[in-house]
Each structure stands twice: as structure tokens, then as C-alpha cells.
């Protein structure tokens, strides 16, 4: 029998606020020793109270808007009660039935070019728990992460394969960075994912019991864990067994799933309104203030790049992968004024390499979009030849000087005066009579060798077209 997988993803997104959600400890403690970035509030001391971080709400609104979710004018915080040592209060402050936003979707382009719309069921704000690790039969706890603002976002069961799940995460990660609401670094746990997986005979319209895989915290892990679980479920069903609603844990190192103890997961969270916090009143004034700077989203921009600049899908995709690069491209196109595809080529071939090597974002380059446009224009006009132009990219980045200045200072201007080139060519022919004879004897492939000699003599500044034309003229006619 052929099966299809029904997959829903529950993501936890760490917002990149300066501080935690309910206290003034800093949100990011990636490099801090355990239990150093803590205070009475985030460690749940007796008597403390939470105070909501404005920026967490604002970033959540940006994300909700990007997901086409409906933002509630009044939303509430609730307590989710359970015991776990990384949860100092014994409850997590979350949002239950009246969360900040609900509904919405994310359109995800799939590899085959199809667009899959993944619906969003829930979108709410909550606080993160600490970290625990096992060591020799004991559990070690670090509270540094307690109280980091999270968005929990749950998709509908709209995803059909491990690969689709991966694509969803890739697009979500892109969007989060694009909006500037999260660093979305999965290695650092900024974007975490639990996957609900079930299978059914292909074409069936019912849902089977699902398992929940916790801890799938990289794109590869999502692919592998879901793939592994789908195979396990098919094996179980075909072996006459059935799939039980287990909670599974993915171990990335060994690439295996393990079942979590039922006691840990069997829970009645006894949600109730958090009496220590007032509701969030998201009135129109505040909302429009937050959304005033709402950016064009990557997929919209991708479509526009294709329509407006006539870019192929491949270019448009790459150029909208990241907001800074995409903004850079538009600024460069505007400064250049010529064919946008030409700017795209320069960016994707050469500037991208610089970005990858330096780890910088496009916006951080000293090679500004204006400088890039200047270089391409000089190449177009023949002021410098292409290799010199490419060399200028690095030089501009290193010095921060304008490419034109560099060209003038270093005398890199292209020798396009054909009289000067003619003299140099004539000299080279005179110096190499043997080669000339061989050429004239039929070895016309030697033209390249002559070109190289001219270039060497001019330190690359000779315009190649002019050089080629003159060399051919001299070699072919003086027979």
C-alpha cells in the first residue's frame, strides 16, 4: 500500500529583543556561564512579579502580520502549570485561548516550483524555560534562558513530506531574519521545532494517531527525524501493529528516536488567566506604529524582481534570500541605471563570494551599492577591463575609497588608445619573429599567446578587443 504522511510543525521562535520577556536580564546568554544572567524574577523567587517587555509584543505583532494572522485587540496571558526543573515558577506564562493572534498562513515554494500554503493554527507569546542536561545520573540546570521571549507558532496538518517540512522551516527562517524579529539560528536554539507525524493510506480523508517528535533543531534533523518516523510508522502498521500517540525525542548525534516517559508528557496544564499581568490592548494606534516600517516580504519581492527587473527566477530567489542583500541589489540597480541582470551577475558571482568569505551582510560592506554601480559602469565604458573591475571590488572593500579614486591613484585606467596598443603589438611581433613565423605558418592558436604578451606588457590595462583586432591585423597583413 502507498502511504502519505500528515505533518504539522510546532515552532518556538526566540525573539531577538535586548531583554527577557518579564525581567530586565538580557535575552541572549549564548556565551555566558550557567546561572549568571538571572535575577529574582526569571528564577521564580517567592514574591516576584512579571513585567511585560514592550519590544516582545511589537516583534510578535510584526511576525503575526507577516503570517497574515488576525491580531486580537485584546489578548491575555495564562499560566500553564507543570513541574519541571527548568521551569522555576512551576508554571510557564503563555497565552492560551485568547492569544495575540490567530489564523494565517505561510506560502512555501517547493522544489518542484509548486507553492504550498501552510496554514497557521496558533500564534502566541510565551516565556522560554531554562536548559537542563544529564550528567552521571543527575540533572544539571541552567536558568540563563528562563524568560527569553518566544513565539510559539503551530501549523495545520498541511505538510506532506520531510522535505516539505524542511522547506517550511527554511522559508520561516528567512522570514524571521527578514523581519528582524529573530536571529533564527537553529544551532543556537533560536528556532526550535517539534513535529507531529502520522501516516495514512494515500488519498484517505481521515487522520490516524500521531506522534510528536521533540527536539528537532536543525533543517537536516527535521528531514531525518521525520523521514525516520514515517518509515517506523509504516513498518509498525505493515507489521500489524498500530501507531500510538507517543512523544518521541530525536537524538541528533545517533540519529535515533527515543520514547519519552509517559509521566513526563501526561499533563493537565490547568490553564488559567495570569493574574499578575494585565491583558495586552493592541489598539489601532499602537498597531499602526508597529507596522509603519513593515517591509515588503521576500516572496513578494521575489515576484517583483522578476516582473520589474526581468530577472530569471533563479536570480530573484537568491537575491531575496536575505533582506540586506536584496536591499543592496535594489540600491545598486538604481545607482547603475542599466540592465539589472548585469548587476545581478556581479552580485551573485563576485559580491556573494566576498560576503561568504567575510561573514558580513551586504549592508555591512564598505563596497557600497553606489561603488559597485560605479565599477560596473567603468567596465561598461571600457575605462577598466573586466578583470580590473573585479579586482576593484576587493580594493574598494579594503580601502573604503571610491573605485574611481583607486583607478586614478593606481593608474589602472585601461589603455584603449589604439595607437599606443599598436606600438606595443608591433614591438612584441618584432621581438618574437619565431612565433610570428609559426603563426603565419598556420598556428593561429598562438593569437592567445600574443594577447598574453601584450597584457603583460600593459599590466592588464590594454583593452582586449582593441588588442585582438590590432594583433590580427598585424599578423595577417604583413605576410
Amino acid at each position: 500500500m502507498e502511504y502519505e504522511a500528515i505533518i504539522g510543525l510546532e515552532t518556538h521562535i526566540q525573539l531577538n529583543t535586548e531583554t527577557k520577556i518579564f525581567c530586565s536580564c538580557k535575552a541572549d546568554s549564548w556565551n555566558d556561564p550557567p546561572n549568571t544572567n538571572i535575577c529574582p524574577v526569571c528564577t521564580g523567587l517567592p514574591g516576584v512579579l512579571p513585567v511585560l517587555n514592550k519590544a516582545a509584543v511589537e516583534k510578535a505583532v510584526l511576525l503575526a502580520h507577516a503570517m497574515h494572522s488576525e491580531i486580537r485587540p485584546v489578548s491575555y496571558f495564562d499560566r500553564k502549570n507543570y513541574f519541571y526543573p527548568d521551569l522555576p515558577k512551576g508554571y510557564q506564562i503563555s497565552q492560551y485561548d485568547q492569544s495575540l493572534a490567530h489564523g494565517g498562513y505561510l506560502d512555501v515554494p517547493m522544489r518542484d516550483g509548486e507553492m504550498r500554503r501552510v496554514s497557521i493554527h496558533k500564534l502566541h507569546i510565551e516565556e522560554d524555560a531554562g536548559k537542563t542536561k544529564n550528567e552521571q545520573g543527575r540533572r544539571l540546570i541552567d536558568f540563563n534562558r528562563c524568560g527569553v521571549p518566544l513565539i510559539e507558532m503551530v501549523t495545520g496538518p498541511d505538510i506532506r513530506s520531510a522535505e516539505e517540512a524542511a522547506q517550511y522551516l527554511i522559508r520561516l527562517r528567512q522570514l524571521l531574519r527578514w523581519l528582524g524579529v529573530s536571529e533564527a539560528d537553529m544551532e543556537k536554539g533560536h528556532l526550535r521545532c517539534d513535529a507531529n507525524v502520522s501516516i495514512r493510506p494515500k488519498g484517505a480523508d481521515y487522520l490516524n494517531p500521531k506522534t510528536e517528535i521533540k527536539n528537532v533543531n536543525s533543517i537536516d534533523a527535521v528531514r531525518q527525524a521525520i523521514e525516520t518516523e514515517i518509515k517506523r510508522q509504516i513498518r509498525a502498521v505493515e507489521g500489524g501493529g498500530k501507531v500510538e500517540a507517543w512523544t518521541l525525542s530525536w537524538d541528533e548525534d545517533s540519529g535515533t528516536l527515543s520514547k519519552m516517559r509517559s509521566k513526563e508528557t501526561e499533563a493537565d496544564y490547568r490553564y488559567f488567566r495570569e493574574p499578575d499581568l494585565l491583558p495586552i490592548h493592541m489598539d489601532e494606534a499602537w498597531k499602526s506604529e508597529i507596522l509603519a516600517a513593515f517591509p515588503e516580504l521576500p516572496l513578494e519581492r521575489r515576484t517583483r524582481f522578476m516582473a520589474e527587473y526581468g530577472l530569471p527566477a533563479y536570480d530573484a530567489d537568491l537575491l531575496t534570500a536575505e533582506r540586506s542583500l536584496s536591499d543592496y541589489f535594489e540600491a545598486a540597480v538604481s545607482a547603475y541605471g542599466g540592465d539589472p541582470k548585469r548587476v545581478s551577475n556581479w552580485l551573485l558571482n563576485d559580491v556573494m563570494r566576498m560576503l561568504n568569505e567575510s561573514g558580513k551582510t551586504a549592508g555591512e560592506l564598505r563596497l557600497t551599492p553606489q561603488f559597485l554601480a560605479e565599477i560596473i559602469k567603468m567596465v561598461d565604458k571600457g575605462t577598466v577591463n573586466t578583470p580590473t573591475g573585479k579586482g576593484l571590488l576587493e580594493k574598494t572593500e579594503e580601502t573604503g575609497k571610491s573605485p574611481r579614486e583607486i583607478v586614478e591613484a593606481e593608474g589602472l585606467g585601461q589603455v584603449s588608445d589604439s595607437e599606443a596598443i599598436r606600438q606595443i603589438c608591433a614591438q612584441i611581433l618584432a621581438d618574437n619573429p619565431e612565433q610570428v613565423a609559426r603563426y603565419r605558418g598556420g598556428k593561429t592558436g598562438l593569437l592567445g599567446w600574443f594577447m598574453g604578451q601584450v597584457m603583460r606588457a600593459t599590466r592588464g590595462k590594454a583593452d582586449p578587443n582593441t588588442t585582438r583586432r590590432i594583433l590580427q591585423e598585424l599578423l595577417d597583413t604583413s605576410a
Binding site: 531583554t19 536580564c25 550557567p34 535575577c39 514592550k54
Partner: protein, 106 residues
């Protein structure tokens, strides 16, 4: 009189609450719970019209009386040592508790 909290339900609540009770304590507590619930049942006799909203706080907060949310500015807590000095068991900065076992999946 019918007991609402049976010994089985009581055991479940005790487990949820992560409490270890002596038998005497358990007996006393279960009896008290059932007694309190009799009082609580008075609530069920009250006619509640549709549209009466729940009140999470008695006082209603207005925009004038509600504190604004906190500005996102880092203030390091100066007394982390005092926090950690309260912890029953620590090791190299970590808080130590007994383990939570996992089951491997065959």
C-alpha cells in the same frame, strides 16, 4: 452523602500535586476536600444569566490606571551570588537535581 473525591481521584490529585502524604494526612485532607466541595456546590445553585463575563480581577483597569509595558533596556541584576546561595545543591554554577529517566524506543 456521596463523596465527590473518591480515594482513587484523591490519589490522582496527590500525584498531580507532587505531594507525599502520610495515611493520616491523606485521610484528613480528603475529608476536608469533600467538606469544602459541599460549600462550593452552593455556587451551582446560583442562576447565572448568559453574558455575565468572568472577572479575573475585581477592579477593572483603564488606560489611565494601567502601567505601560516595560521598555526593552538591559539592567544586569547585581546580586546573582545571593540567588545561588539559596540553592540546595550546585556544581560549577549549575543547579543539581536528581535525574529524569528516558526510555529508548525499540
Amino acid at each position: 452523602m456521596q463523596e465527590e473525591i473518591t480515594p482513587e481521584l484523591f490519589e490522582h490529585l496527590v500525584e498531580l500535586a507532587a505531594l507525599e502524604l502520610t495515611p493520616e494526612e491523606g485521610e484528613y485532607l480528603r475529608a476536608q476536600l469533600n467538606k469544602q466541595l459541599q460549600a462550593v456546590h452552593e455556587l451551582q445553585a446560583i442562576p447565572l444569566e448568559e453574558g455575565i463575563p468572568p472577572a479575573s480581577h475585581g477592579v477593572s483597569y483603564t488606560p489611565e490606571s494601567s502601567p505601560p509595558p516595560r521598555e526593552d533596556a538591559w539592567k544586569p541584576y547585581p546580586n546573582v551570588e545571593a540567588l545561588l546561595s539559596q540553592v540546595p545543591e550546585t556544581e560549577e554554577g549549575y543547579i543539581v537535581v536528581p535525574d529524569i529517566p528516558h526510555e529508548a524506543l525499540s
